[in-house]
């Protein structure tokens, strides 16, 4: 039951409106951070209200006039939109608290621009989540690229600028493909609104529908980091870690995956996709991405780049789940969308805390670091367990449904791919945890550092390189002794509390997933898309 209300518009407008006061109070950091917090809290509140309504089937919708002749500028908080909006707003709250600690910990420059762009990015993500049609989604999708560009290039170093150029080139070219797809789609069907069973009239022209589908999949695939199009994500790791955490684990890449979900389920509809045989190619692309990214992650020595490749792989879990077009797989995909967000943001926040406190960026240097950062490494271990799919943490639940869905679709090879990808995750994450908990000298023998990558050479980019070695670590011969810290003194609370909260979230999603609103929303979406059940 759809009710006209201004809730969705407020949900999009709140973070965007916060940009102005943040810019104006640039001179007073505390007041500026207060504005960010206020906006984050307000957004979480609104998202919670919208989500609870959506879970009960009450869809809030607000139409603001016509964007283009025949297509309204409209926001609609249906179950899928509310799910993504709630997820993004909750994690924005955690990330903004974390950002304050991170930016002040490293005394970063241009903090005002950082926080303003951050709020703008979340605002546009809300826009993507709550769009009622593909063109409104495209508008906010492009604005998201523009809002995140200053964050990717925050350090303004040569490497950051190069990463920025690649980022713009990839994402905006993807945007062109999406626009082309929307134009063809609109020319064929005359409507781009989201309809649970798919827009009618697509079957009439299979060729044009196929072209539109390909264009849209490639376009959204860029941000969903499907393999050939994922080049920008590892380079974007040059951004400050909270950006990598929230944006490149949650907002930006998830908006790509979200776009794909909208296209496959709400524009083409499961039936049309299956009848036109368009599901399999997407599934194969996702499967290939999972495996290739999983392998590439093994070769990375820098922690954040490794996490980036693991993100690429994990995103394809969701894409494959959707491409399988069975209720269990879609449900698993939606739950994984949430689970992966919580787990991956925890890992990134831990990586950020490690960097702020010890300046360590490479896995090789993390030997025995748990003594210095016990709480952080515990959270890291929990999240890693989740990613691998060990029971008790969020990842296991979603993977269970994904594998079930794959079997239900009779696609055994895809089920095997899931398990194999989980194994690759194990090979990637578990050594890191072991190194962190082992003592100093265990590291040398355990993991042969790959070729030139690992050899100790000058840091590339990063403000850290200028002032010589990482702070707080004595460079005696070979092994570095960490001074032991207790969980209370290891790091500032702004860094610690958010990452523990997200780790706790992952645990809650693992142990009692059905208590969370995400579960009901995912179920509502699945019911909506597969009325037969």
């Amino acid at each position: 039951m759809t009710t006209a209300s201004s809730l969705p518009v407020l949900l999009v407008a709140a973070p965007l409106a916060a940009v102005v006061p943040i810019l104006l109070t640039g001179a007073h950091p505390n007041r500026r951070e207060a504005w960010t917090m206020l906006a984050a809290l307000l957004t979480v509140g609104l998202a919670a209200v919208t989500a609870s309504a959506a879970a009960e089937g009450v869809v809030h919708e607000s139409v603001l006039g016509s964007l283009v002749v025949g297509v309204p500028l409209a926001f609609r908080a249906d179950a899928l939109g509310a799910l993504f909006a709630l997820l993004a707003s909750v994690l924005w709250l955690a990330a903004s608290v974390y950002s304050v600690g991170y930016m002040r910990g490293l005394d970063e420059h241009h903090q005002t621009r950082y926080f303003a762009a951050f709020a703008a990015s979340v605002g546009t993500t809300m826009g993507v989540a709550l769009s009622a049609n593909l063109l409104t989604l495209f508008v906010f999708y492009e604005l998201l690229t523009v809002a995140t560009y200053p964050l990717v290039t925050h350090h303004e170093t040569a490497e950051a600028r190069r990463a920025g150029r690649t980022y713009l080139a990839f994402t905006l070219s993807g945007g062109v493909a999406i626009l082309a797809g929307i134009v063809v789609l609109y020319a064929v069907t005359g409507s781009v609104a989201f309809v649970a069973g798919g827009v009618p009239g697509l079957g009439t022209e299979p060729v044009l529908a196929g072209v539109a589908y390909a264009l849209l999949v490639v376009g959204f695939g860029v941000k969903a980091a499907l393999v050939p199009l994922h080049g920008w994500l590892p380079d974007a790791m040059v951004a400050p870690t909270p950006v990598s955490g929230l944006l490149h684990a949650v907002a930006v890449v998830k908006s790509g995956v979200f776009g794909l979900v909208r296209v496959v389920l709400f524009v083409f509809g499961a039936g049309t996709v299956r009848s036109l045989g368009l599901g399999t190619p997407l599934a194969v692309a996702a499967a290939v991405t999972m495996l290739v990214a999983g392998v590439l992650a093994l070769r990375q020595d820098r922690l954040k780049r490794g996490l980036a490749y693991s993100t690429v792989s994990q995103l394809s879990y969701i894409v494959l789940g959707v491409a399988l077009l069975t209720p269990a797989a879609v449900f698993g995909a939606l739950v994984h969308l949430v689970a992966h967000a919580f787990m991956k943001i925890t890992l990134f926040l831990c990586a950020g805390a490690i960097y702020v406190e010890t300046g360590v960026q490479r896995v090789g240097e993390m030997g025995g670091i748990w003594r210095r950062l016990p709480a952080t490494m515990t959270a890291f271990a929990v999240a890693s367990a989740g990613l691998v799919g060990l029971p008790g943490v969020a990842g296991f639940v979603s993977k269970w449904y994904l594998v079930l869905g794959a079997l239900e679709a009779g696609a055994a090879p895809f089920a095997a791919t899931y398990l194999l990808a989980g194994l690759l995750k194990l090979l990637f994450l578990w050594p890191i945890v072991l190194i962190a908990y082992a003592d100093r000298d265990a590291i040398a023998g355990f993991r042969p550092l790959p070729g030139g990558e690992g050899a100790p050479h000058a840091e590339d980019g990063g403000p850290l390189a200028e002032d010589g070695g990482p702070p707080g670590v004595e460079d005696d011969d070979g092994g570095r002794g960490w001074d032991r810290r207790t969980p209370l003194t290891e790091s500032s609370w702004q860094l610690l509390v958010p990452l523990l909260a997200t780790a706790a979230g992952a645990l809650v999603l693992g142990v009692v997933p059905d208590a969370t609103p995400f579960w009901d929303l995912a179920a509502a979406v699945t019911a909506e898309v597969f009325p037969g059940g």
Binding site: L143, E156, V176
Partner: protein
């Protein structure tokens, strides 16, 4: 009440005679007179626009003669949009030139003559008088370019004059052929007589090609675009902004008007190959304009080449021969005029306030000229085609119409123009915010009018973008005689 149309043209001409006379007594009188005249013109234009919206087109014939004989002036919704654009841009340009541009008496009267010529083009429905107004506006534009204070102003103005006059003369030859073929010059009469003469008549086809090429030179489509970069680089900044906004835009409007009112949709339908040729030229202009813009080092030349590419989109819209395509082209013309004028104003402000001419010298401009840089960045994003700025919507309609009529090359070029324009604008964006610049710039004073003009244009680009659907709905009735 339709005499207001004549006053629209007469007012700036009469006002243009005032500055040289009065300046013999009182100096510095140029700008105030121009401001007063531009304000009156804007008021009159908006009033006429509102009347046209309310009661339909205003029509009058000079000297009360029958339309076949006399010079018919008419303002329908399409003309009203461009008359208002000319008047508003004229007034807006004065905000910039209060300090930035020429303040001499001749400068002011040339500025008013330019407005008169452009308004004349928008209202006239007689193909020969259109030529006269084209040359009045052209002459004023050539002279205004020559007012630039660099060494390259006079040569650039002369080059612009030579190419512009050759273009206008080709258009005149086209008019001559039309007259020989049909014996009429009024667009309405031409439309009927061309139908009887037959659309495959060699004389009529030659006339169409000559008219298209002549106006193509004025629009600066590739390959007859060479005058635009030099002229826009050499002219004073405020003048470049107004020229960039109006001269080519109104020439493109003239092409739309002549093709739709004189040749009509039937002619386009009867000659698919000719229309495909026009579309091919437009597509070539989109791509070539972008490729030529890539290596440019000076910001104004970069923006000028971007214009060549953007006008390709508008002409492609017309050349689709569908109502939606023409409407898309017209919205793109109006939107591009606003964005390009604002971009030149903001770039001019940075050029003066930060002593920067090349893209590299624009490095770190955001720190020194934050507002102008923000305006320039917004407008550049609009030119790239990022929604919700107006740059996106024109392309949407043209691309949609191209896909519907199966003109795949046009659709691809229009859509790819976003990526192409990003390729040459990304450098500028990156310099503005992310790079430092060695050396001490020697800034010149920058007036609030200069900065405000950039910001106003950015807001207008956003406003037009959000209201583009209403704009299309308002202009729709004015485009007839073409399939939907």
């Amino acid at each position: 009440m339709s005499d207001a149309v004549v006053v629209l043209v007469a007012l700036p001409v009469v006002a243009a005679t005032v500055p040289p006379v009065v300046s013999r007594r009182v100096d510095g009188v140029g700008w105030p007179v121009a401001a007063a005249a531009a304000t009156a013109q804007t008021a009159l234009a908006t009033w006429v626009g509102w009347r046209v919206l309310a009661d339909g087109p205003l029509r009058t014939v000079v000297a009360g003669l029958p339309a076949v004989l006399g010079i018919e002036l008419a303002v329908d919704r399409l003309s009203a949009a461009f008359v208002v654009l000319v008047a508003v841009a004229g007034l807006w340009g004065l905000a910039y030139t209060r300090r930035g541009g020429p303040r001499s008496a001749p400068g002011a009267s040339l500025y008013l003559l330019l407005l008169a010529g452009l308004t004349g083009i928008c209202v006239v429905r007689d193909v020969f008088t259109l030529y006269v107004f084209l040359e009045i506006a052209g002459l004023a534009a050539y002279a205004l370019v020559a007012l630039g204070d660099g060494r390259d102003a006079a040569p650039a103005a002369l080059r612009y004059l030579l190419v512009g006059t050759v273009g206008a003369s080709l258009y005149l030859l086209g008019v001559g052929y039309l007259y020989v073929a049909t014996g009429a010059l009024n667009m309405g009469v031409l439309a009927d007589r061309l139908a009887t003469v037959g659309y495959d008549d060699r004389l009529v086809l030659a006339a169409f090609v000559l008219v298209a090429v002549g106006l193509g030179v004025k629009i600066a489509l590739f390959p007859v675009h060479t005058w635009k970069p030099d002229a826009y680089q050499a002219a004073p900044p405020g003048i470049t902004a107004v020229l960039a906004a109006l001269v080519s835009t109104v020439a493109a409007y003239a092409l739309v008007r002549v093709v739709l009112a004189a040749f009509t949709g039937a002619f386009l339908a009867a000659n698919p190959r000719l229309v495909a040729g026009l579309r091919a030229a437009a597509v070539l202009s989109i791509v070539a304009g972008a490729l030529l813009a890539l290596p440019q080092r000076r910001v104004r030349r970069l923006l000028a080449y971007s214009s060549v590419s953007q006008f390709g989109i508008a002409v492609a819209g017309l050349a689709l021969g569908t109502r939606l395509g023409v409407l898309g082209g017209v919205v793109h013309l109006l939107g591009h005029a606003v964005m390009k004028a604002g971009a030149f104003a903001a770039a001019g402000t940075i050029e003066a306030g930060y002593d920067a001419r090349t893209v590299d010298e624009f490095a770190d401009a955001a720190a020194h000229q934050p507002v102008a840089s923000a305006a320039l960045a917004t407008l550049v994003l609009g030119l790239v085609g990022i929604p919700p700025l107006v740059g996106f919507f024109g392309k949407w309609y043209v691309a949609l119409s191209a896909v519907r009529t199966g003109a795949w090359a046009t659709a691809a070029a229009v859509l790819l123009s976003t990526a192409l324009s990003l390729a040459y604008f990304a450098r500028l964006l990156q310099r503005l915010y992310l790079e430092r610049r060695e050396g001490r710039p020697t800034p010149a004073p920058v007036s609030t009018g200069m900065v405000a003009s950039g910001v106003l244009a950015a807001l207008a680009a956003l406003g037009l973008g959000l209201a583009s659907a209403e704009l299309i709905a308002a202009l729709r009735p004015a485009i007839e005689g073409v399939p939907p």
